[in-house]
Subunit: 141 residues, 3 copies
């Protein structure tokens, strides 16, 4: 009988902790990864606008990451970005910008050419895939 009660308690614990982890997921803030792979200034401005609208809707309750790769890497380059000031401002409000290291190698771009506090990832596309695997929503900028 003692064993029986032990099994009971174990089952109850498993059920309870499972319920808690589900609760945690539900309470988690929104998360979105934006893909920027175009050097079209209008696309860059549209993405800035989209991010501002998401921040307006959810404030600090949304995690935002922008992955710049291919031609889109220009968005996070100090000398080439059409929206450098906006990127700097958004980073200060917690938006994460990362550049693709594959793209940087291919185009001979150094970290020094990136806007301050822009991070890097080994592969921009792999980063977008991983984020989706972790439950982030995806928007093509």
């Amino acid at each position: 009988m003692k064993n029986l009660i032990l099994i009971f308690l174990t089952l109850i614990t498993m059920t309870t902790s499972n319920a808690q982890s589900k609760q945690a997921e539900v309470n988690q803030k929104h998360r979105v990864v934006f893909q920027m792979n175009s050097n079209d200034p209008e696309s860059q401005k549209a993405l800035v606008n989209n991010i501002q609208n998401v921040k307006k809707a959810w404030g600090s309750e949304v995690a935002i990451e922008v992955v710049a790769h291919g031609s889109g890497i220009e968005m996070v380059m100090t000398e080439k970005s059409a929206v450098a000031q906006d990127v700097t401002k958004m980073i200060k409000t917690g938006v994460i910008f990362v550049a693709c290291e594959n793209t940087m190698a291919k185009k001979n771009i150094t970290k020094a050419e990136l806007i301050e506090n822009v991070g890097t990832v080994p592969s921009g596309v792999a980063e977008i895939i991983i984020k989706q695997e972790q439950g982030w929503s995806y928007i093509k900028g």
Copy 2:
């Protein structure tokens, strides 16, 4: 012993209702949110075509929502859409079209300028994120 049986019954009920809710998800029809953010007439026609193909494949077993924002809002404006008649027809077959209120405010577009029965959402991008959080598939139109 009475308490023990009560705990048992509670556990069984929890397990059963959990199984039922999973079943409900599995049986649910397909759901897809399309993003339209371009005013290129060819993109609008391609999206109409894509929606028709999805309807052909799944009929009433698919829920379709089109989010028009940025330059793409023209797709749902009576005077500017390249596919106004198609939009009207698709709405009659249950396809949902919504315009972004942020875009409308920025471009001074009134509800009266939208094709009949086109809805609105506070933020088009937030809408696409929410839909993905709810398990909808996402297609960039």
Copy 3:
């Protein structure tokens, strides 16, 4: 008491098998479906590049499917593709390319016009939706 133990065992089995199925999901390799709906040679080259980077990052631990539809079907047509040799090479490394049969019918394209070992699906868009329903990440190429 016998019944009670039977219920116990059933509950334990359900909990265990549930835990196992979750483990299986976690251990599964990465899966990504790319959408190609443009006949722009630069977009085709960028997609080739993206796929190579994903393969470089994860090797055989990633499943990749490219869905070519609309104008993008040219990417998988022997005479029209800007990257025919790359497509052939990637198919040999396990990348799956499929063409949309709706697009083929509309544009009068036969299977013989497709690059060798390119498959077909009834609807390219429905295919992308299904893949997302099955947990694949989605990238607009």
